[in-house]
């Protein structure tokens, strides 16, 4: 019967229509389709400011929705994306589970905190910072505050009593304000994440030859994806697989534009760390009386 269909006088027209229909159907089948089902929220910690953070992670959210087949939106939260200290706090208080850590910069899925001074300041060693003015990053930043506070305590320097004073910049973009504060002489010493030094030097915002690294903390995990304790394990597995399998050339469509997921998120990839890799931060938090181990 099918053959007779094509033997009619209009067989060439029918054949053309069929040939046109097949790729059209395939095209439609391959089109992005919104996943169905309930909405799950991903809580993204602010890095510099809220608007920038939301824009940065919108493509990644979309990508995870497509790969995991779940409707993800930013908000509170089946999944979280925070720094490693907040991951520990949420894990301690809310049973958050480890999904994967961001990879960015020299150290991959790890970073470190440094204490730096301007080369012309005369400050050469950690001992020299006594009685000086110091600027920290955000108080809950593991490599902008925690690691450096711990470094100083380990060297026998109490930031509460042995410095002239310390401050934390107000408002957004605190990380950059730390380095500019040192650069323009408002402070003598800065608690700068090693990653920030790397990125700002690459952007030409600072010259590494202009400052001296007084001390650097041990390596600690970088920003981390976590999941709530009651997230469906199958969804968790799909999300983890999607993150670990992300490649630099993977793209999603956002607002009519095709964007690279990793590049938009300012991340070079994701790595599956072990929970024991975060013990170093737990030890730092205990030593510095920081959450989740703070005592009053």
């Amino acid at each position: 019967m099918l053959l007779n269909f094509f033997r009619s006088p209009f067989s060439s027209l029918r054949l053309s229509l069929l040939l046109a229909a097949v790729p059209a159907l395939l095209f439609l089948a391959g089109c992005d389709r919104e996943p169905q089902g309930p909405v799950l929220k991903i809580g993204y910690m602010n890095c510099n400011n809220e608007q920038e953070t939301m824009q940065r992670f919108a493509p990644l959210t979309r990508y995870l929705s497509e790969q995991a087949g779940v409707r993800f939106e930013a908000g509170e939260f089946a999944l979280t994306h925070t720094n490693s200290l907040l991951y520990i706090v949420l894990q301690h208080n809310a049973g958050l589970k480890l999904v994967a850590a961001d990879k960015r910069g020299h150290f991959g899925a790890r970073s470190a905190g440094t204490l730096i001074a301007r080369k012309d300041s005369g400050i050469r060693t950690l001992e020299d910072i006594r009685g000086k003015r110091l600027v920290f990053g955000p108080a809950m930043a593991p490599t902008g505050y925690l690691a450096q506070y711990d470094l100083m305590l380990n060297a026998g320097i109490d930031p509460e009593t042995d410095l002239a004073y310390y401050a934390i910049p107000s408002g957004s973009f605190k990380h950059e304000k730390v380095l500019y504060g040192l650069y323009f002489g408002a402070f003598d010493v800065a608690a700068a994440p090693a990653l920030d030094l790397e990125l700002m030097a690459a952007d030409g915002k600072i010259n590494p030859d202009d400052f001296v690294v007084l001390a650097q903390s041990p390596m600690i995990p970088y920003c981390t994806f976590g999941s709530s304790a009651d997230l469906d394990p199958a969804i968790l597995a799909r999300v983890r697989k999607a993150l670990l399998g992300l490649k630099t050339q993977d793209t999603v469509e956002i607002d009519g534009e095709r964007v690279k997921v990793l590049q938009s998120a300012w991340v070079e990839g994701f790595e599956e760390l072990l929970d024991s890799d975060y013990d170093i931060i737990r030890d730092m938090a205990r030593r510095t009386n920081m959450p989740p181990y703070q005592t009053f």
Partner: protein, 179 residues
């Protein structure tokens, strides 16, 4: 088979040309044949290589100085600066691997060494002026012990499996073979 005048003429010509060739080579050899030939590829290649090694060592000298002084973070930043001018240079990867290894970032250090060796296998040759055979051997031992141990305890962890695969690559390059 019978040889006619045609065969004898061409046979004689063959002997004459062969003799001329032998004479030419013999005269050239006694009169400094290699320079007369005007080409000594092996020597040229060797000179190019020595020049390259000297250039690379000079270029990355500041990084090595910072590393020796223990200023590892500064060394990494200086390395970044050089990489922007000479992207994909194997020596940069080797130095990065050395620094990261000292900083305790084992998986990333191994990955840097792998990137270096894939570009230039001289770093694994004992006789090369660029040899890092001892450091690579130590890295392999550490990698198998630490990363390998973690991977065995967490067989489902794909990141650890990828890191161990890199260690095995270094191990294979150390073992030698045609490469």
């Amino acid at each position: 088979m019978t040889f006619d005048r045609f065969d004898r003429f061409h046979g004689l010509l063959l002997l004459l040309v062969a003799g001329g060739l032998v004479l030419l080579l013999a005269v050239a050899e006694s009169g400094g044949g290699r320079s007369a030939a005007g080409v000594d590829k092996a020597m040229e290649q060797d000179l190019d290589y020595q020049a390259r090694v000297a250039f690379v060592q000079k270029l990355y000298g500041p990084v090595e100085d910072l590393r020796r002084d223990g200023q590892l973070q500064q060394a990494l930043l200086k390395l970044d600066e050089l990489e922007r001018r000479y992207p994909g240079e194997a020596h940069g990867f080797i130095l990065r691997g050395e620094i990261l290894s000292r900083m305790g970032v084992l998986a990333e250090a191994v990955a840097s060494y792998v990137a270096a060796l894939r570009l230039n296998g001289d770093y694994v040759d004992a006789r090369s002026p660029l040899s890092r055979q001892t450091e690579i051997r130590q890295l392999v031992d550490d990698g198998l012990r630490i990363l390998g141990g973690q991977a065995r305890s967490h067989p489902e962890n794909v990141s650890l499996a990828a890191a161990v695969k890199n260690v095995h690559y270094l191990q294979s390059r150390l073992a030698g073979g045609c490469e």
